[in-house]
């Protein structure tokens, strides 16, 4: 019997997902033994035209990482959906936009200005923007069109499964791949999250929670946290309460706040949930104060939290309720 076919693709991503797959250690040999790789730009020399030549549904398992940032990403999303039996949004970018999705906090024009005009270390390439069309002796070259709004994979094509994480934890990937190889039936497809928990990170975090309230927030560089105590209660914006478990609460255990990379729990908006969680640990505004004093005291605490949108939606902005910011003049 021919081996099942395997593909992995990167759209707008950093490449960390590819590394996380290799992080499963010697189990990668099982992957090689069980699957025939038919497309994997990071490790093997296949061309897009090879994929176009495959019959529809030829790829048994396709791990798609990366957000949809430009026209090339979108084209490959449609192509790989057509050619794949099972399409998995692999990692936070494909699932919910992740760091590329933070582009939705600004505009392409502003991004380009930062990179090609305002950046201090840019010298001879200053103000030389990428051109959509270039003429060379062999003919014309077009680069992909950069979209104004970054999208997650399931906002472009239907996705069968989601493996969250930035990047997904090796033991979670290994468990899913082991299940696929051994023929254990997966849950019914339809965009279900697999390879992750169903509770918040706080539930697997061993740090002591004393239900202590706080009066100011700290950025990570401003505070060396006391070991063994909940980071949120120490004033660090730890995303644990609003984030799906599955990682084993690795970051909080070494004193680094959870940044939220496993995304929200089912049916939640990560930023909105985090906002609620923050509001419940803030002490200001006691019932003994008058209305104006309360407002002032609460505002003073909240002002110490820099960049709520970028912090709460660091990974999930493109998949959140509002998805992107509004700009007065589109395109400026």
């Amino acid at each position: 019997m021919a081996k099942p076919t395997f593909a992995m693709y990167w759209a707008a991503s950093c490449g960390g997902c590819e590394i996380s797959l290799l992080n499963i250690g010697e189990k990668i040999l099982d992957v090689d033994a069980a699957f025939q790789v038919v497309f994997w730009p990071c490790v093997a020399d296949f061309k897009y035209s090879d994929v176009e030549g495959y019959p529809d549904g030829y790829i048994d398992l396709c791990l798609f990482n990366g957000a949809i940032r430009n026209s090339e990403n979108e084209e490959l999303a449609h192509l790989l959906r057509r050619k794949s039996k099972t399409l998995v949004a692999f990692g936070s970018c494909a699932y919910e936009g992740c760091a590329p999705g933070l582009a939705n906090l600004t505009t392409n024009a502003a991004t380009m200005r930062t990179i090609y005009t305002d950046c201090l270390t840019t010298d001879e390439t200053r103000d030389r923007l990428p051109q959509p069309l270039s003429m060379v002796p062999e003919g014309e070259i077009r680069i992909p069109v950069l979209y104004e709004t970054v999208r997650a994979l399931d906002q472009v094509v239907p996705v069968d499964y989601i493996i969250p994480g930035c990047p997904p934890e090796a033991h979670q990937i290994a468990a899913v791949i082991q299940a696929v190889i051994s023929g254990v039936p997966l849950p019914a497809p339809g965009g279900k999250v697999i390879g992750a928990g169903t509770v918040a990170v706080c539930e697997e975090c061993p740090l002591a929670k004393n239900v202590k309230q706080i009066t100011r927030f700290y950025r990570p560089y401003e505070l060396v946290p006391e070991p063994g105590i909940c980071l949120l209660e120490q004033g660090l914006v730890c995303m644990g309460p609003a984030t799906r478990s599955g990682c084993g609460a690795l970051c909080p255990q070494v004193g680094m706040r959870c940044e939220g990379c496993y995304g929200p729990l089912d049916g939640q908006d990560q930023g909105a949930r985090m906002l609620s969680a923050i509001a419940s640990v803030v002490a200001a505004g006691g019932p003994d104060q008058d209305e104006a004093e309360q407002e002032h005291a609460i505002a003073a605490v909240m002002d110490t939290l820099a960049d709520p949108a970028g912090t709460f939606y660091r990974f999930s902005l493109a998949h959140s309720l509002l998805r992107r910011v509004r700009v007065a003049e589109p395109g400026t």
């Binding site: 906090l105 709004t149 939640q268 908006d269 930023g271 909105a272 949930r273 906002l275 609620s276 923050i278 509001a279 419940s280 803030v282 200001a284 505004g285 006691g286 019932p287 104060q289 008058d290 209305e291 309360q294 407002e295 609460i298 505002a299 909240m302 002002d303 939290l305 960049d307 709520p308 949108a309 970028g310 709460f312 959140s320 309720l321 509002l322 998805r323 992107r324 910011v325 509004r326 700009v327 007065a328 589109p330």
Partner: protein, 156 residues
């Protein structure tokens, strides 16, 4: 030129005071802008930020949250918890390019029908000046379900 834009305000009203204030405004025959769609909640603390974000995404031009004056909450300090959320929500909405007047928190006791009506009138005028939000169309480039339905009804 007269501004005929009739904004849509989703109002989350506390069961113990502001919903009764709205009731009182009705029985007292107070005339005020017919722009608010009231939703009764048990407490302003029940209003999750998600409700506000979803209302704005699905076609509301503004969201009004109304509850008991601080110190008068039926659940002792639910309204203070709402105020903490609201303060941070305002900062978040600013980053999303949503004007401050679009999401407001007011206090209206059960006897303050007039004050609630005035708050709706005032907010309506502010939203008229700002114009429609239409998040799905103007920001996401989609058609909103609610407005599509309204158009279908008008078109017969």
């Amino acid at each position: 030129m007269e501004n005929h834009f009739q904004p849509i305000i989703v109002g989350f009203l506390c069961n113990w005071c502001s919903y009764r204030a709205a009731d009182l405004a009705g029985t007292a025959r107070i005339h005020y802008a017919p722009t608010m769609r009231p939703i009764r909640v048990m407490c302003t603390a029940r209003v999750e930020p998600e409700f506000v974000l979803k209302a704005l995404r699905e076609g509301a031009d503004g969201v009004l949250i109304a509850g008991c004056h601080p110190g008068e909450c039926h659940y002792v300090e639910g309204n203070i918890k709402a105020l903490r959320r609201f303060t941070l929500l305002k900062a978040l909405l600013r980053q999303f390019g949503i004007e401050e007047a679009r999401v407001q928190l007011v206090w209206a006791a059960a006897s303050e029908g007039k004050q609630l009506a005035e708050a709706v009138d005032r907010m309506t005028e502010e939203l008229r000046a700002l114009g429609p939000l239409r998040w799905r169309e103007t920001v996401l480039g989609e058609q909103p379900v609610a407005r599509r339905m309204a158009e279908a009804e008008v078109g017969g």
